[in-house]
Structure formats: C-alpha cells, structure tokens
C-alpha cells in the first residue's frame, strides 16, 4: 500500500495528488448515501440535498486547483541533522499570481523513507506576488542517509474535505547523525585528575605565559608586552607555553551475532560513543575513532571539523553480523587498543564506556 502511495505521489501521470481528510471521507460517504437514497426514493428534495453535496465537492476541487496554481516553493538546503531531535528547515512558497492570493497552503519536504516525521510549514494567506516564509520541522527516527525526492505544496482550501498537492521533484540528501546526549560532564567520569591536560615546558600556542622575548617581524602585535621595554626602545612580546596534547582514542563495536549482542545494543552503544566523542571534542581533546572490525578509522584531530568527521562516519556505519566466537574474542582481547598513545576507551554495548 505504501509503495502504491509513493508511486502515485511521484507519478507525473497524475499531476495533482489528492488525499481525503477524515471529514472528506465522511462527507463523501454521506453524499453516496444521499445519492442512493435519492435514486431509490425519487424524492426531489433529497435530490436537491444530494446536488448540494455534489456541488460542494466539485467546487472544492475547482477552488483547490485554482489555489495551487503558480505557487513555487523554495527551501534552504539541509545537509545534516540529528536523530530524534527536531530539525528546522527554512522553507517558503511564492505566489506568482498578480491579483489573487492563495489560502491555507502547506509546504513540506518529501522523503523516500516513510518514517521521517515532517511538520509542514503553514501559511493562511499568501498574497499575490509575495512570499510566505516559515519553517518545516523534521524529525528523523534514526541515524543514516535520508533522501529528499520532492517538495509538496498542499492545500485543503476551501472546505478541508481533500488535501490537494503539487509535487515539485527535487533531489537532496540529509545525513542524520546519531543522537547526542547532553552530558557535558561525561568525560570527567572517566578521566583521572590531571589527565585533562597541561603544558609541556616549551614555547607554543597555549594560554599560559611562558616568557617574553624581543619582538620580531611576523609576531602578533597584540601580544606585545608593554610593561617592559628593552634598552634602545626595542619592544618585547609575550611567549605562550605549548599545551600538552590531550589525545583520546575511542573504539566502537560494529559487530553483532544476535546471541551475545544485537543491533539495538549496538545502536545504543553507538549513541553513547557519539555523545562521548562530542563531549571530548568540546572540551578541547584530540579524539580519534575506530571500529572493532577495523572497517572504519578516523585519525585523531580536534575542533569542529573533526567532530563532523566522526559523526559523519558514525552516521553511515553499518553493523556486521559475525559468528559468536568472534564477538567473544573481541570481548577478551584488548591488545589492539594498546598501540595507541594517550587515553583509550572502548564503548561496550553491555558495560558502557570502558577505559583501556
């Protein structure tokens, strides 16, 4: 049924898509009953009421068609989103008509995946030669890649019996990251005192002052020291100490066997891993990521770009089904983590974040 519905919505053979509202179904049923009663009784007044209901249906169709003419949607491209959290997309519709407004218009994005929850943008009135802008709220139930195949401009004007839509085909993809839990204190649960970082006793780009030296060309004039000046008027500049590299390595499970581990466990673990990585990155750590199977590896880095890289990788990570003994072997063997300098964590589906 869903595939038939999708076929109908994408088919150019039917340029207008119509779906009945609940009231529309009731009204059409009443109309059919009226027609049956009118034909069977020959009562002209029942014919009159039947004609009235038919007239309302016909006018509803004509007016909704007129309402949709020369409407053009637009929306801002959406590249990334987060699973289970509402995501706002700027969307709008423009009325190219010169004199007549459009009423009760909704604009929504159409996804190939049916499970996306879309709350359309609504406009009561779009004046002629004007735009109506708003937001469409999307809620993705899971991580992964979601494909937009069109934008639908819908109206239920005038009587809300039917919703008539025009689909403007378009193609875009949205990468949905795993849900990030708001637990900024997460790393402190797993890091001992002093492991958050420090300095290494040489000049660098940290925040602690290391010393002063003579100002040379190319130095940042903002770091000039005005408290002391060398004889001859030569200026001094502050030096900052290089901070210790706060490196953390995170390992994620991507194998399952249904007996010891199932996909739901892995999804939760993946969410935990993503949240953990994001918290660490926000606190200035260098973070690297690898999966247990070795299929995916992200070299350590810091900052926003590293965060996107890690999250993008986790978004499209698929799980591998393996024999149970392989899963057991991974549980036992942690030697593959030993090769990494710095702190290493394994996000276990059963036991949570484990420090290696």
């Amino acid at each position: 049924m869903q595939s038939l519905r999708k076929f109908f919505w994408r088919s150019s053979f039917f340029p207008r898509k119509i779906s009945f509202s609940r009231e529309g179904k009731v009204f059409v049923l009443i109309s059919l009953g009226l027609g049956f009663a009118a034909i069977n009784t020959g009562n002209n007044l029942v014919y009159l009421v039947f004609s009235l209901s038919l007239a309302m249906i016909v006018l509803s169709g004509l007016l909704s068609e007129w309402n949709l003419r020369k409407l053009r949607p637009h929306f801002s491209p959406l590249v990334r989103a987060e699973a289970t959290k509402p995501c706002f997309v700027e969307i709008g519709v423009e009325n190219d008509r010169k004199r007549l407004p459009a009423f009760s218009v909704q604009v929504r994005l159409l996804f190939e995946e049916d499970e996306v929850d879309v709350l359309p943008m609504r406009a009561l009135e779009v004046r002629p030669c004007e735009k109506a802008n708003g937001s469409c709220i999307l809620k993705f139930p899971r991580r992964g890649v979601f494909n937009i195949y069109g934008v639908a401009v819908t109206t239920d004007f005038p009587f809300s019996f039917f919703e008539k839509s025009v689909v403007f085909p378009t193609e875009a993809e949205v990468l949905v990251h795993p849900r990030i839990k708001d637990e900024a204190h997460l790393p402190s649960l797993y890091l001992a005192n002093g492991e958050e970082g420090g300095t290494v006793g040489k000049s660098g780009h940290g925040t602690e002052i290391f010393g002063v030296r003579e100002f040379r060309d190319g130095d940042n004039p903002r770091h000039k020291s005005y408290k002391r000046i060398l004889p001859g008027g030569r200026e001094l500049v502050k030096e900052f100490e290089q901070e210790a590299k706060k490196a953390v390595f995170v390992m994620v499970f991507d194998i399952y066997d249904e007996k010891l581990l199932n996909k739901d466990d892995l999804e939760k673990a993946l969410e935990n891993a993503a949240s953990f990585c994001v918290s660490l990155l926000r606190q200035g750590f260098h973070v690297g990521l690898k999966t247990v199977s070795g299929r995916v590896e992200v070299r350590e880095g810091r900052g926003e770009s590293q965060m996107w890289q890690i999250l993008d990788s986790l978004s499209i990570l698929d799980f591998l089904r393996v024999p149970s003994n392989q899963v057991e072997a991974v549980f036992e063997d942690k030697s593959h983590l030993a090769q990494y300098e710095g702190l290493a964590f394994l996000v276990h589906p059963r036991f949570g974040v484990l420090r290696v």
């Binding site: 076929f7 994408r10 088919s11 150019s12 053979f13 009731v26 009443i30 009226l34 009663a37 009118a38 034909i39 069977n40 009784t41 020959g42 009562n43 002209n44 007044l45 029942v46 014919y47 009159l48 009421v49 039947f50 004609s51 009235l52 007239a55 309302m56 016909v58 006018l59 007016l63 053009r72 637009h74 929306f75 801002s76 491209p77 590249v79 423009e94 407004p101 009423f103 009760s104 709350l119 609504r122 009561l124 009135e125 709220i137 069109g150 004007f157 005038p158 009587f159 809300s160 689909v167 085909p169 378009t170 193609e171 875009a172 993809e173 990468l175 996107w308 890289q309 993008d312 978004s315």
Partner: protein, 716 residues
C-alpha cells in the same frame, strides 16, 4: 469581534437553520422543538474551560445512554425515523455546548447536515426551500472558518517550544481576529456558486427513481365533503380554514373569481348523511388527440374553454377531478408521459357524470379541464331507476317539510321555476351561519322549520329534499365556489373555506341545471387588498413554483427537454401542442441503439490518451521518463554529469557531509581554473533544486559551462 466568537455565532445560526427545517415540517410538537432550538442557539456561545478527559468521557457516556434510550423508543413504537432524528437533534444540541477544537465543530456540522437531509424527507413545503438558502450560506462560512481554525490550531502548536495545552490554543483564538476581509467576500461568492451549481445538478440529474423505499411526498389535505359519504354538517370545520386546496389557471378564455369548481354529486340521503347510490364507474374514452371525453357522443368542437387545474393532494380513497360547470373533457399535461401509459393515468366516470382519476395517493394533480358553459349536462333523459335515485327521500321525513315545499311551489310545475322559487325563499327567509347548532336527531328539519340558520350544506340539502318531495329529480353537489385572484401567478386560488354545496335539478331535455340556494353573502375570497394580502399572494405563487418545479420535478419533464434538444425545431410542449408519442420515444431509443457504443468507448479512450501525450509533447516534456524519479531537468542532469567527470578524471567525489558549494571550493583547490565555471554551474543547480540562488541558465549556456569544466579538468 474575535475569530472564536464569530465562528461560534455563525455555527449557532447554521445549527438553528438546520433544526428549523425539521421543526417546520410539523412532525415534531412545538414544545419539543423550541427548547432544542434555544439550546442550539445558546450552546455554541457558551465557552466552558474544561477538564478534557472527564468531559469527553461524560459526553461519550451520554451519547451511548441516550442512544440506547431512543433506540428503545424507536423499536417499541416502530417510529424509527422520528426517534432517530430526535436523537440526532439532541446530540447536536449537547455537542453545541462542547465546542473546543476544530473536530468538535466538524462533528456539529455533520449532525446539522444530517438534520437537513432528514428535513428533505419530512418537510416538502416551501419552508424547506426558504431555509435551505441561509443554511447553505451559513454552512459554507462555517466550513471556511473551520479551515482557518485548523490552520490556527496547527500554527500555535507548531510554534510552541514546549507542549501547549488546549486552553492556550483557545485563548489565543479568542484574542485574534484572524479572518482576512476578502475571505468573507469569497464566502459569499462561494455560497452563491454552490447554490447555482447545485441547482444545475438538480435539474440535470436523471430521475430514475426505483421507488424501493418511497416515502410519501406531501401530506394530504383533509377535506370532509369529498369522501364517499358526507355527514350533514361535516364541512363546518373546513369552512374556517384558509389553506389553499387548488389553483385554477385560465388557458383558453377568461377566469375571474368567484369561480365554481364542481367535484362530486351525491344522491342518497338517509336523514343524517349523503352518499352515492351506485359506485360503479367506467373508463373515459379518448379522442384522436388523447383527450378524455366525459361523453363520447359529444366530441370537443374547439369552442370549449380550458383551465389548468393544480390540485393539492386531498386525503381520501379516490382523486376527484374538479372542473368548472359542465365539464366535457380532461387532459393530462402535454409533457406528461404518464398519459401514454394507461396503467399510470386513467380517467373514470360514474353514472352521475363525476370524474375521478387513478393514481398513487397523496400526490398533487395537474390537468386540463374543458368546459362549455352553454352545453347541457348529460344525461338529457333519465331512466326510471335513475329517476328513482334522484327522487329518494329519507325515511321518516317530516310532513311539515313536504307541506312547506308545496306551499312555496304553489301551482307551478316547471322544475326550473319551482327551483327558482325555492332559491328565492332560501335567500329571503334564511340566514347564513357557520356556527349554528341543530338538533342532532333531525338536523335538516331543525334547519328548515325552526332554526333557519346554517351553512351551504344545509341550504343545498334542504332544497334537494324539498324538490324531491315535489317530485322533481335533484341531487346534491359538492365542490368549491369563490377564490382569490393571484396576479403574481396568474391563477385563482381556492381554499378550504371556499368548499361549497349546491343543487343540480334535472330538467327534461336540458339535463341537470345548477341552482345555488345559499345566500350570496357567504362568498369568501374577498380578502382585503392590503400589504399582507400581496405578501400572501407572492408566497403562494412561490409555493406553487416550488411544488411544480422542485418537489414534483420528474423524469417526464427531463425527457421532453432532452428530446427538444435533439430536435431544435421542437420546443417544450405546452397546452394544445401534440404530445410526445410512443412512436417518437421508440424512434429515439432505436437511434440510440444504432450507435456502436463499444467502438465509441474505444475511440474515447484513445482520444484521451492521445490528448495526454500530445499535450506533453507540445509542452516540450519528454515522454519517456523515470516514473520513480519524476522529471529530470537539464541543469540537474548536467550537474550529475559533471560530478561523474570529476570522479572519473580526478577522483574527486562529494562527501555526504559536504555541501555542493564546499565541494566546488575543494575542486578549486585541486584545479583552480575549473572552479569558476563549476561554481556557476553549482549555483544554477541550487537554484533549480532548492528554488533559490541565481536564475536557471539556458541549456546552451550550461552546456558551454560543462564543456569548459571538462576541458580544464582534463588539461590539468
């Protein structure tokens, strides 16, 4: 006025109009309808802040319990329609107090619409036609406002960062006037359009009634005095009622009130009531023009006058046809195909010349009556048995009455002169009164000898008895006399109060001659010509139009109209024009059968498909497209082609997390010369796909861009 208040007001008004259609049918007593109408008027105006779940549950429980109660009443009395309708009305009244969300309003409108449908079944009167217009207006506005409410509720919930309670939504609606001014104008236009389109559908929709569940169309008018037995004094009640019973329109000749419309004659009087001696009838024969002749030996010669009679359904076992004095022929309407089907429309007469017609009960009749004022009423001679019937006197007739008759007649033997003397006697010595009381044992003797006050029945009965006592055959005739001219409809309206009795006296060689012993002061119909009488006439004319063209609109009229369309030289048949013949209908059916319908259907289908494809060709759209992907515009195709080239030549692929513009900049890092055309192409792509950005370039320019990018990439 806030939106919420206006919406509730309009909903109230619509609900009241809907219930009024039912209330004015007369099926429900006023003490039931008035409180319900008040509840419907007041309910939607009341705003209750509610505990959602508790009230909703209470409403559901009430609906179920009351439903069971009404079901019990319905099945115990077998009056299903009455109690179902009453249940729907009660539900809508209660629902009116609990209108919160848009769904509540829609349920209210559905219940109101069901009442309107029920009203169509039980109320065929003009009140339905009058009330349906504001009802349509109100319903259209209500549905439009519900649409706005739906938008408003969705918007409030949408824009809230946290969960919004129902109270917040409702208070927001009460604080705003949301309706744009021109939307109200649109509503008026929409209502008018709805009405006009529904009228068009009404007249065009074929009437192919199968009648499995036929319901009586109109309640009959009860008319004492036109049954098979008439009790003396039974017409008293009707003579005070001004309900219109028939409308007579002149077709050939003039017609000015007072007019006399003869109904039936009664010849047997037992001292208390009148009846017919014999009830045997025989069918009237038709002439070449399908006109039913009262007396086959007396054909119509063209000198007759004709009237069109529209007779309201009268209760009783038979349809008496009323006609002016000395009717000589009858004819159904020219466009009435029932005339061609004998089982549907048959005229009968009895020995006294009364004409009746068969047909379903409680149906209005429309027919033409031919009459000739100077032509004698048949028969011209009476047989002995008929003479005996018309000389019959009741047993125990007072001898005083006979003596009185002889005293008035004196030596005169001429029946007409004797009758005239009696008429003068009644006019001078008696008084007309609707409310006089008479001795129940012998009301006629009491009237003639003591009281000398009464209405037309007494006058006519007294004269007939006195004539018979003198050996002159006579009979009582009931009908209508009087009428008001309605200049708006060009007809004379006869009411119940115009019901009248008079006498027909048999004169050898002349037949039955009419005499009216009732003093002329009784004649009603002289209504004051004031504003109200004009309003009343307009209303009656509109009522007649309503009955003829809406309530009784039929397949016959439709077929005649369509046949007229098929032959433009013909027009809708009126009086005097040749009727539709069976031969014409058969010819039309044969012509229809000649058409090869299967071939026509195939041609139609091929035509539709061809039209679709030709339209797409003319629009420049490709015929073959990937249905699952929809249309592919040239910009998108070229962008995709460019991505393929970049991947193939330089291994550059857009990552999922990269926007198109970021990717273009990354390509620029690898191949700076290709960045500019690639950016241009990317912007064109964005403009097409997302509806923003620069205008979409022409296909020629795009091709140039793609070629340039390709060259730059390959050269590096």
């Amino acid at each position: 006025m806030s939106f919420d208040r206006l919406h509730r007001l309009v909903s109230s008004a619509t609900g009241v109009f809907g219930i009024s259609i039912v209330a004015l049918s007369g099926e429900f007593p006023w003490y039931q309808m008035v409180p319900l109408m008040l509840a419907l008027a007041v309910g939607p105006q009341v705003i209750i802040t509610r505990e959602e779940k508790a009230l909703s549950n209470a409403l559901n429980v009430f609906a179920v319990v009351s439903g069971l109660f009404f079901a019990y009443l319905a099945f115990s009395t077998w009056n299903l329609l009455y109690y179902s309708l009453l249940y729907a009305i009660v539900l809508s009244c209660v629902k009116g107090f609990f209108l919160f969300q848009r769904n509540d309003f829609m349920q209210f409108y559905v219940l109101s619409f069901l009442q309107c449908i029920a009203g169509a079944v039980i109320n065929p009167g003009l009140s339905f036609g009058v009330l349906i217009i504001p009802y349509v207006l109100g319903l259209t506005l209500c549905l439009l406002m519900s649409n706005v409410r739906k938008w408003a509720e969705g918007t409030v919930r949408f824009s809230a960062a946290k969960n919004v309670s129902e109270k917040d939504v409702q208070s927001w609606l009460r604080s705003k006037t949301l309706l744009p001014g021109h939307l109200l104008w649109l509503t008026v236009g929409l209502s008018v359009s709805t009405f006009l389109v529904s009228v068009a559908f009404f007249f065009l929709f074929p009437r192919i009634g199968m009648g499995f569940f036929a319901y009586q169309k109109r309640p009959p008018v009860s008319m004492p005095g036109f049954a098979e037995t008439v009790e003396l004094g039974s017409m008293t009640e009707a003579l005070d009622d001004t309900q219109v019973v028939m409308r007579v329109k002149p077709v050939i000749g003039d017609l000015e009130p007072p007019i006399r419309m003869r109904g039936q004659s009664l010849d047997f009087y037992d001292g208390q009531k009148w009846s017919k001696t014999t009830s045997s009838v025989w069918p009237l024969k038709t002439d070449q023009q399908n006109r039913f002749l009262v007396e086959p030996r007396l054909p119509l010669d063209g000198s007759e006058k004709v009237v069109e009679v529209y007779l309201e359904p009268i209760s009783g076992s038979k349809h008496i046809l009323f006609a002016p004095q000395t009717p000589v022929g009858f004819e159904p309407p020219a466009n009435d195909l029932r005339a061609l089907r004998p089982e549907k429309w048959r005229f009968y007469r009895d020995v006294s010349g009364d004409v009746v017609v068969t047909g379903p009960p409680s149906v209005a009749l429309l027919y033409y009556a031919y009459y000739a004022e100077n032509r004698a009423m048949t028969p011209l001679f009476l047989s002995d048995s008929h003479r005996r019937d018309y000389l019959q006197l009741p047993e125990g007739l007072s001898s005083d009455i006979i003596m009185l008759a002889r005293e008035i007649a004196g030596d005169e033997r001429d029946p007409e002169e004797v009758a005239s003397r009696l008429v003068r006697f009644f006019h001078s010595q008696f008084k007309y009164s609707l409310h006089s009381k008479h001795d129940e044992s012998d009301p006629l003797a009491d009237f003639l000898l003591r009281n000398r006050e009464g209405h037309c029945e007494f006058f006519a009965s007294g004269m007939v008895v006195m004539l018979r006592a003198l050996g002159i055959p006579a009979r009582l005739v009931t009908g209508f006399y009087g009428g008001d001219r309605n200049e708006y409809g060009n007809y004379v309206a006869l009411r119940k109060s115009d019901a009248h009795s008079w006498v027909e006296v048999f004169v050898e060689g002349k037949g039955f001659v009419t005499f009216d012993p009732t003093p002329p002061v009784f004649v009603r119909g002289r209504v004051p010509r004031g504003v109200f009488s004009h309003i009343s006439m307009v209303i009656d004319a509109v009522r007649l139009f309503w009955y003829r063209w809406v309530v009784e609109y039929s397949l016959d009229k439709q077929i005649d109209f369509l046949l007229g369309l098929a032959a433009p030289s013909r027009k809708v048949r009126g009086f005097g024009e040749p009727k539709i013949t069976i031969g014409e209908i058969r010819h039309a059916i044969a012509k229809v059968k000649e058409i090869p319908w299967s071939a026509a259907l195939v041609c139609l289908l091929v035509g539709v498909v061809a039209f679709y494809f030709v339209r797409r060709l003319v629009r420049g759209e490709g015929i073959w497209h990937r249905v699952n992907r929809g249309k592919v515009s040239p910009v998108v195709a070229m962008y995709r082609y460019t991505l393929k080239i970049l991947a193939k030549e330089k291994g550059l692929r857009r990552a999922l997390h990269e926007t198109q513009l970021e990717f273009a900049k990354r390509v620029g890092n690898v191949c700076p010369e290709a960045q500019k055309p690639l950016l241009e192409l990317t912007w064109a792509y964005l403009g097409t796909v997302f509806g923003q950005g620069s205008q979409v370039a022409e296909a020629k320019d795009l091709k140039q861009l793609v070629t340039e990018i390709e060259e730059k990439i390959r050269s590096q």
